[in-house]
Amino acid sequence: MADEHQDPHSTSQTIIAPGYSFGSVTDQIATVVLTKRTPPAWFLGFGVGIVLLLMFLLAVGLLFVKGVGIWGLRTPVMWGFAITNFVWWIGIGHAGTLISAILLLLNQRWRNSINRFAEAMTLFAVSCAGMFPLLHLGRPWLFYWLFPYPNTMGVQPNFRSPLVWDVFAVSTYATVSLLFWYVGLMPDLATLRDRTHNRFARFVYGIMSMGWRGSARHWSIYETASLLLAGLATPLVLSVHTVVSFDFTIAIVPGWHSTFFPPYFVAGAIYSGFAMVLALAIPLRAIYGLEGLITERHLENSAKVMLATGLIVAYAYMMETFNAWYTTNVYEHAAIWHRMTGPYRVAYWSLISCNILAPQALWFKRVRSKPALLFLSSIVVLIGMWLERYVIIVSSLAQDYLPSSWGIFQATRWDWMTYIGTIGLFLFLFFLFIRLLPMISIFEVRTLLPQAKVEEEEVGG
């Protein structure tokens, strides 16, 4: 006991509140799903989700009928909201994979109580992200043309185009995230199967858990599988936003054609992703009384990651400006100058305030330990990161080389409805998830309890 403060695992005792047992942890998390009583706040969130989802369906229905002209897409800005939203959503997903894969490899055991819903967030964010390139196609029903398959037209995708790389990167990311999430769910689905009294629920959870029985032989293979999947997901998650940034950097548009976009985009992705983790975790723990499992330590750690990645993003903004000046390229000068003083200056300075100035408050422990303030700052960061993508995409396209071909982008109401609508889709999926599946990984939280440690006093005896 004397050297316990030197044992990195001893910190696990502060990750979750004291007084929990294997049984009480299981019951508290499983009850959220198995109870017949749903908290009113759930209905509120789900209801908002459904209303916004219906709005999304309306906007998409009209898009199918009339085409992408209902959005504000006019030459030269043909990417507009669709690609902004795509990059924003896919970035949000990155925090889930970071928490589930990278923090697993780094043995950061505090991740155990937030990884499940963060991974769900990843999946749903990627679903929302995937909507936009497809809807932006013009003829979305022909989306399968994106993939190489034998066809009577005798044509194939251009494998030298970053847009095709994106198809592979995002679909691989979605598939691997789903697999990783499902593997993590199997033991918990078995717990739900064993705890429920409803025959139908037992059948469904039983089939979904594949007959998991917690055998030591299975656990040993399972642990290998988790580590391998984490090892595969780690380079994958870093590659996804890198490839997304290639959509820009490979083009020769001023303000896009830059080598530091990949790390800059990845840092921004993790920044906005942790903001979304906080924006989800803070209301969830309050509604379901999970303060003992998602403790202030989790919120504080997430806030620290946000601060660190926010500083990387701030550095990237400075370097972007510096590079534009240092290249002595007149078009790069103009691109940055237009951002700061041109028609999108309000968006530019708002994003600087949201992403660089506001998060500096997170240096103070007094701010980090107040969930309400953290919630507020995470919303500010989410808005800031959306503005960042908007400014990068729209301002660069609106004013590039020839002043005669400049044009200003104006979002239409259908742009807004589609964007807000995907937030509805996200809420809809997320609230379904917390009602039907355990939002905290039960078996991984059990391993955090002090009594999970095997006491080896009789070794050799």
């Binding site: 594949m210 029985r213 917690g214 030591a216 399972y222 290998t224």
Partner: protein, 177 residues
């Protein structure tokens, strides 16, 4: 004379007790045994000598297969099936293939990891004799079980049961097949 059984199941209240019991059973010479726990226990893997499994090899092969198919797909399409001559640039433009090759490697490796996990565990298996023990539902909550199977050469209903009782379990029960 006796009705056939799948094995004998002892229930323990803590991981420490279970690991000690698993060690004792191994020492006694039992080999066809398995433990059931609500979470992975590293020491148990040691106690039951379960260290080696083939999953890394399966994942490696899946990854190699994925990488090869990604690269060859692009080679085939851009060089043989649908060559586009852009100002005489080489058709076999390997730097442009890197990303899709990488993505396909990860995709195939991850799919093989999951399918390999299921195959090596023999899942899905909705029915298994251990579910016949009424208290086994606690194995996914807070109890720790050790099961010695009847196919173990040393297994004898009477003697194995007595042995398990010496380990001070909460309860020992027969597992119907």
């Amino acid at each position: 004379m006796n009705k056939p059984v799948y094995g004998l199941m002892a229930e323990f209240e803590s991981p420490t007790e279970l690991v000690a019991a698993a060690r004792a059973a191994r020492e006694k010479g039992y080999r066809k045994l398995d433990a059931y726990t609500p979470f992975p226990i590293e020491e148990l893997t040691d106690a039951l000598h379960l260290h080696y499994n083939k999953l890394p090899l399966i994942v490696l092969l899946g990854g190699i297969l994925g990488g090869l198919s990604g690269y060859l797909l692009q080679y085939y399409v851009t060089v043989i099936y649908f060559p586009i001559n852009v100002a005489g640039r080489p058709l076999h433009s390997w730097p442009a293939y890197i990303i899709i090759t990488f993505e396909m490697t990860i995709l195939f490796a991850a799919i093989s990891a999951v399918l390999g996990l299921l195959a090596l565990c023999g899942l899905p298996m909705p029915y298994h004799p251990v579910f016949n023990v009424p208290r086994f539902v606690q194995a996914s909550r807070n109890r720790f079980f050790l099961c010695i199977q009847a196919r173990d050469p040393l297994f004898d209903l009477q003697r194995t049961s007595e042995f398990l009782l010496t380990l001070e379990p909460r309860e020992v029960s027969e597992v119907a097949p």
